[in-house]
């Protein structure tokens, strides 16, 4: 136990408050509460997922901002979708979208989610997320940095003001 406490003290607080405070205020003023995100991998290479995971590390501390990833689309304000949308995930993505309550904000993450990326459209992929469900905002990058994903969430929340 002493080791754990000592390591915590030694590590200190790493979160970059200047980058995140503004986002927190926006979310509060728009939603008046926490922002709940359901992440949907609709066929990605898992690169984008790695950077979405990074949002929960102590540098970005997304949960500390009142943004949390939820286990069900029924609890979600926003869907964070990575692509390209594979044909095998098309139905699951549509169903997830249908299950989310309004306002159903959708952010397509990564080059593949934004435009199909290197995979494009084919017998196996539908390409961009917007080819399958309505999209409010895209975050290009391969993969986009956590900061870029945060900015994307910020943009779409602000657009609701």
């Amino acid at each position: 136990m002493f080791d754990v406490l000592s390591r915590m003290v030694h590590t200190g607080i790493l979160t970059d408050a200047s980058a995140t405070d503004r986002l927190q205020q926006q979310i509060r003023s728009v939603l008046g509460r926490a922002l709940c995100i359901r992440q949907v991998d609709a066929g990605s290479c898992n690169g984008c997922e790695l950077e979405i995971h990074a949002l929960n590390n102590p540098y970005y501390n997304l949960e500390g901002l009142g943004i949390k990833f939820v286990a069900s689309p029924r609890h979600a304000d926003l869907l964070l979708v990575t692509g390209p949308v594979s044909v095998n995930m098309e139905e699951a993505l549509k169903r997830t979208y249908d299950a989310a309550p309004d306002p159903k904000l959708v952010v397509a993450v990564g080059d593949c989610g934004a435009c199909g990326g290197i995979f494009g459209t084919s017998y196996a992929t539908r390409g961009a997320v917007s080819n399958v469900i309505p999209v409010d905002h895209t975050v290009p990058g391969c993969p986009p940095s956590p900061q870029a994903i945060l900015d994307g969430i910020f943009q779409v929340v602000r657009s609701q003001l």
């Binding site: 609709a42 290479c45 286990a71 689309p73 095998n88 139905e91 290197i118 017998y123």
Partner: protein, 517 residues
């Protein structure tokens, strides 16, 4: 090796690639006889794939590659029946071949003799008489998805019920289907259904310029981008007869070890979290972020998707990068050692890790386990140690090994590999050769075949490349060790509690995208 009486002694040709290999032509009988001999000799199936060569010599071909003590063996069987192409299944000998054979059928319409004919990559997203890798396939067409249920194997008995999970999971995870048959909380059977992230990569490769194939290779499984792009480049370079400059080889090694470190750090944090120890996630995800941020400085990207390029690497290290890297290694080593003792001594964490998700050695051998998961079940295997290619041929990489086969063992292997990777990184930096970091690779001759096999952080990844005319790719088959290792999870979970599944699954952390292709 007791293969003296078989076809393995005949008609062999050298195989181009980064590790020694041979290619052997076989008829249907020899296909089975050779596979049996390889099985008897303890060879492990690396991958299995097919080709449509009707445009060249009027036949389909099925190939299989094995790893054994002397290197790689590839069997090649030409199938002359073009109307109903069939070949003998290898799944009885090598269980992992079963799903690979189903995938070959879905893409090429070449059937094995195995009884399981359910689609593996095809989830009714294209018609059953359409085969995307056939030369006469119309690549411009898209098809509507037909929603049909999948025939999971049903388990019957008193009190047995099913839990269906996926394809969308409760977390930031790739999609896949899991069907648990349980009594109370105990798992009687788990059946996986994968293929949800199938992106038609093999078809996408076809006709692509050789000069850009590495970009697609890197995106087979984003967490193994360096391993896949290196394997691809190794295949191309071996066909083109190009030797990567020594400095570039060393930088590739550095990038591959950084990839291993990043994934192991991330997994160790997630495993702590799944055992209810959020402190572990905070600490390890911080260390991973420190590594990624330095990657951005010295390799110009957090994730090295486009660092390995044909003939070398995209850029040299910037000036003074070494000092920053050495400082990072010291920081990671100190922190990982401290966190390891915290994990080891934490009663709650150890209670969750030990004896959970145990995969015994015999089962692992029978199923053909590869890479990290095999090393945790007492099977020594690591290409960096067993068949070292440049720069590993001068590093004396040590393979990690544990015998427990449980979550705790897979955690320990990751810790051991972090320290070994840090040692390798320091060696690579200290002895970094001078010279260029890239050499030109001209378009390779058509109809050459090469295989790149690289020990990624999960296990070996393989890229089989066949060149086409005018600098194009004729056929490219990608393989991730996840294909072999997914079935291990179905065994490791048996008798465990459903709530331990996320922890056990994480301890393998297999790639969906890598297996789906």
């Amino acid at each position: 090796m007791h293969m003296a009486t078989t076809v393995l002694d005949r008609t062999r040709t050298l195989l181009a690639g980064n590790i020694a290999g041979e290619r052997i032509a076989a008829n249907a009988e020899e296909w089975v006889a050779s596979a049996t001999a390889l099985h008897g000799a303890g060879a492990r199936l690396l991958t299995l794939w097919g080709t449509d060569d009707r445009d060249r010599d009027r036949c389909f071909r099925i190939y299989a590659a094995w790893l054994h003590a002397a290197g790689l063996v590839v069997l090649e069987h030409a199938i002359e029946d073009r109307t109903h192409p069939t070949y003998p299944s290898l799944a009885e000998l090598f269980p992992a071949a079963g799903r690979m054979e189903r995938a070959v059928y879905d893409l090429l319409g070449i059937a094995s003799t195995a009884p399981d004919r359910r689609g593996w990559l095809r989830h009714n997203g294209w018609p059953e008489d359409v085969f995307p890798l056939r030369r006469d396939f119309d690549a411009t067409r898209q098809h509507a998805v037909q929603s049909l249920p999948y025939a999971y194997v049903e388990v019957e008995g008193d009190g047995v019920h099913e839990i269906a999970v996926g394809p969308v999971h409760a977390g930031i995870i790739e999609p896949g289907g899991f069907r648990f048959s349980v009594v109370g909380e105990k798992v009687l059977r788990l059946e996986e259904r994968l293929g949800y992230t199938h992106k038609g990569v093999a078809r996408r490769f076809q006709g692509m310029p050789q000069a850009s194939g590495h970009k697609l290779a890197a995106r087979l499984s984003g967490d193994s981008a360096v391993a896949f792009s290196w394997a691809w480049c190794a295949a191309l370079e071996s066909i083109a007869g190009v030797v990567c400059p020594p400095r570039a080889a060393a930088l590739r090694g550095l990038a591959l070890e950084h990839e291993r470190l990043a994934n192991h750090l991330g997994d160790l944090g997630a495993l702590g979290n799944d055992a209810g120890f959020a402190f572990g996630l905070t600490q390890f995800s911080r260390l991973k972020e420190d590594l990624l941020r330095l990657n951005a400085e010295v390799f110009s990207a957090r994730y090295l998707m486009d660092f390995v390029v044909p003939g070398g690497v995209a850029a040299d290290l910037p000036r003074l990068a070494s000092d920053r890297l050495y400082a990072l290694y010291a920081h990671l080593e100190l922190a990982a050692a401290e966190l390891r003792s915290i994990y080891d001594e934490h009663a709650g964490v150890q209670d969750r890790f030990r004896e959970t998700g145990r995969l015994d050695r015999d089962t692992a051998v029978r199923l053909g386990a590869l890479g990290l998961a095999a090393r945790a079940s007492g099977i020594a295997n690591d290409l960096r140690a067993d068949h070292p290619w440049a720069p590993y041929d001068r590093l004396d990489a040590q393979s990690a090994g544990q015998n427990g086969g449980d979550v705790a063992a897979r955690v320990q292997v990751r810790f051991d590999e972090i320290f070994e990777s840090l040692r390798l990184c320091r060696m690579l930096l200290a002895e970094l050769p001078e010279g260029p970091v890239r050499t030109a690779v001209d378009a390779a001759e058509p109809y050459g075949m090469g295989i790149g096999v690289i020990e990624g952080w999960r296990g070996p990844v393989a890229m089989v490349l066949e060149t086409g005319p005018e600098g194009t790719i004729r056929r490219c088959h990608a393989h991730d060790a996840s294909a072999q290792n997914w079935p291990l999870l179905e065994y490791a979970i048996l008798g465990n509690l459903v709530p331990d599944f996320p922890l056990i699954n994480k301890s393998f952390n297999l790639s969906y995208s890598g297996q789906d292709g």
